[in-house]
Symmetry: C2
Subunit: 477 residues, 2 copies
């Protein structure tokens, strides 16, 4: 079928105004926010509800048209950007943005895929509850995208990634069938865990149109600390002591290397060094509790005092005001901005078993240096999850040497990934595979796992129309 | 191939002494512990390690021999019992019982499938950590079985079911390939969540041979309360208040109907009524915290005082000693024994969204009465999970009326299941499907979901040898 007919039929489904074809209109949907991935498309379709999504999917199935679902377009692996063929439809979920139900007794809420994470947080708050996921992009990322990528963020330590927060899903399958799996159940042992296949599948097995999510009690006490540490071994010891003593009160444990902190201080206005003496590592820890009026700052101080005494902590500060806590958080939230201003960023999303973090950082840093002696290495990450983002930064002058940068970037990433996998780790902890990790996936996964994943892709999407070229499966239908 | 040849080749793999064929030897493996399911088999095979499991699976794949994995044989749905054909091999995992690794820094341990749950708990405790799953059968159930059935128990409220406790799996696939998915990672977004397919699949997609599990800080403070409640609505209100105030400290919230409590008191020696006045419902709540020296009894009392004041709690008791707490727990743990002594037990494993529990109990109780006026109904369950086990008890005299009991039992279960599904619930919250739920599954799941599950079964196990007749797929290879 000619592309024009597909567009005509899509317009008949969603209304003429909801199919964009003019380059000026489609441009924002055809590139990611960092400008690393660009594609072209027949058009960009904005369905109003799950029934229209299903009708568009049926149209694509019938005509063999590749379909690229897109939420807030805040991903970093190119998972929501079409290829260059110009044959695809981009399907935007943003009009599916209703909060369908809030159930405070069952501690759950049901929202459509196009709700922003911030809107979901607000709906939970209005019901006196917490939806705990916290991401830098929460104002614009959509809940369907966070499910498709199994998003992480700074609260994973306490509440788990998106996978742990989903009770049920509504999904349009690749043949256009609408599967109602919107169960608000805490326990359900009736066969295979289908919802877990769609979570993290990045739209390659179906399109999430709504989800029932878990809610939690709101924290009513909290405290924030900033620690200076001599080594990653010390950081692990302190984290272990915090968790062993305070348990799940430890909501966040973010680690930054001194190079990373220095980059933030150098490039982001309004940031200040919290502790006078630089140390190789610093740790930002937050503890929260649903009970009101607890002295969590005191509890934190008691645990930290042990570490200060035995020397595992070089220096420490417990925030004495919300403003002071916010200033500490600003350091963490400024990392991306600081790195962009530091040079050419080659980021990674590896995780290793927690105990292997020190070994990983040493070996991966050396591996980067072996590829490019001019690379500076920053480290920022979630120490309790084993998820350290090692960021190689090349000087801006590297753009003007005449040598293309892409091979160097690929060699650096391959080296970092190799170290992670050798230590029992993963090449993607929370960002997903999308386009960027597709080749590496085939290298680092064993053949048994690749065969099972390819088989699942073929089973769910025999025509290969669902987000082709992402994760696994044929790159074109 | 003749059965004798299969046995001969199995003996060559695992050693002659590890293949049982004599009826006196095989009998314990061919019936479940309650005596409801019986089968026959070519033999019962006891491999020593994952490589031998893989070799036995390859033998079965090559010869089309049905293979029934069995752990501690403590299940209640017939999932580990072969059919009556006599063509199957039963594969016991009990010799795979090593603790391979304990990682206190990463809060994980890796154990083989044949370790009992109690052995896993003990290994965690030896490392100063908690493995939180708690089941009545923990002394004999094996960790592979708890993974295959996604077991629940009394700590699900706080720590989740087995699915939430598994970091990685080692699985022998139906073609005999050993898949090493033993990752000790808290976050891993590299494609489809294969481990979640094997968890809860009841051995129909492969055989779990080892698992990496999450560990937690050990509780160092705890308190236990027993409440008398006028209604299930009051129970939900009190639970909501407990959780909203104390958060995840609320580890357990078990509810019993007065009829259930009375049956325990009548039939189990050494049990005593904790509160003088009978009330329609009672709630056993436990709160724990990893911090030492906390006054959790005081915190509990403060929350309960509000409920006593506004009338939502009729009466309450907070245990003042470990002995008193143990006496309260004995009431809960005596339910199965009491029910067996009360008459002919027809149990159920439904869950509904928490807010629907009162409606479910009223309607399902009426539905049971409509089938059998002589049925007494007990209710016991995990109120925070929505998982209420409604138990219909027929008088022993019903055995001697000449009318067969099985149709009445089936009609009762169908009625209870129908009410649960109408209220957005499930026919199995924690026990699984096995043989007993197979027909009901096809009735209560929609066609889209059944088609996906059947497709996954065919994809993973095209020969249909893996635990045939359980959950989904053809009943024989």
């Amino acid at each position: 079928m000619a592309g024009g007919d597909v567009i005509g039929r899509a317009r008949a489904i969603v209304g003429p105004a909801q199919v964009l074809c003019e380059p000026a209109d489609t441009a924002p949907f055809l590139a990611d926010w960092r400008g690393r991935y660009r594609g072209t498309a027949l058009g960009v379709v904005h369905p109003a509800d799950a029934a229209q999504v299903a009708a568009v999917v049926r149209l694509c199935a019938e005509t063999g048209t590749p379909l690229v679902p897109q939420g807030g377009n805040t991903g970093v692996v190119g998972g929501a950007i079409p290829d260059a063929s110009g044959r695809s439809l981009v399907l935007c979920l943003s009009r599916l943005n209703r909060v369908r139900e809030v159930d405070p007794v069952g501690d759950s809420l049901t929202v459509e895929a196009g709700c922003t994470l911030a809107a979901v947080q607000a709906a939970a708050e209005a019901a006196g509850r917490l939806f705990p996921m916290s991401l830098g992009s929460e104002g614009s990322c959509q809940i369907g995208g966070t499910i498709a990528t199994n998003a992480g963020g700074t609260a994973v330590l306490r509440y788990g990634p998106m996978r742990d927060l989903v009770l049920g899903l509504e999904v349009v399958l690749p043949d256009g069938t609408l599967w109602d799996g919107l169960r608000a159940l805490r326990k359900d042992n009736t066969g295979y865990a289908l919802k877990h296949l769609f979570i993290g599948a990045e739209g390659t097995l179906g399109i999430v149109t709504a989800a029932t999510l878990k809610l939690f009690p709101r924290p009513r006490s909290s405290a924030t600390a900033f620690l200076a540490l001599a080594s990653l071994e010390a950081a692990l010891e302190v984290f272990s002591r915090l968790r062993g003593t305070l348990g799940d009160r430890v909501t966040t444990a973010e680690i930054l290397s001194e190079a990373q902190l220095a980059a933030v201080l150098a490039h982001v206005p309004g940031t200040v060094r919290p502790l006078a003496t630089p140390a190789p590592w610093c740790l930002l820890a937050e503890v929260t509790d649903p009970m009101a009026g607890l002295d969590l700052a005191g509890a934190l101080e008691a645990v930290l005092a042990e570490g200060l005494e035995d020397g595992s902590i070089a220096d420490a500060l417990v925030a004495r005001s919300e403003a002071q806590a916010a200033a500490l958080w600003k350091l963490r939230h400024s990392v991306s901005e600081a790195n962009r201003k530091s040079g050419i960023v080659i980021g990674h999303d590896t995780a290793v078993p927690t105990a292997r973090i020190p070994d990983f950082v040493v070996r991966a840093t050396a591996a980067i240096a072996a590829v490019r002696a001019d690379a500076r290495v920053m480290a920022v990450g979630h120490i309790g999850d084993g998820n350290i983002h090692l960021v190689a930064i090349l000087p801006e002058s590297a753009r003007t040497t005449g040598k293309p940068l892409e091979p160097a970037a690929q060699a650096i990433s391959a080296a970092v990934h190799r170290v992670a996998v050798e230590l029992g780790g993963t090449i993607s902890a929370e960002h997903g595979i999308g386009q960027s990790g597709r080749d590496a996936l085939a290298v680092f996964k064993g053949p048994a796992e690749m065969a099972l994943m390819d088989g699942i892709k073929r089973l769910f999407d025999p025509r290969g129309i669902m987000n082709p070229g992402k994760v696994v499966g044929p790159a074109t239908p």
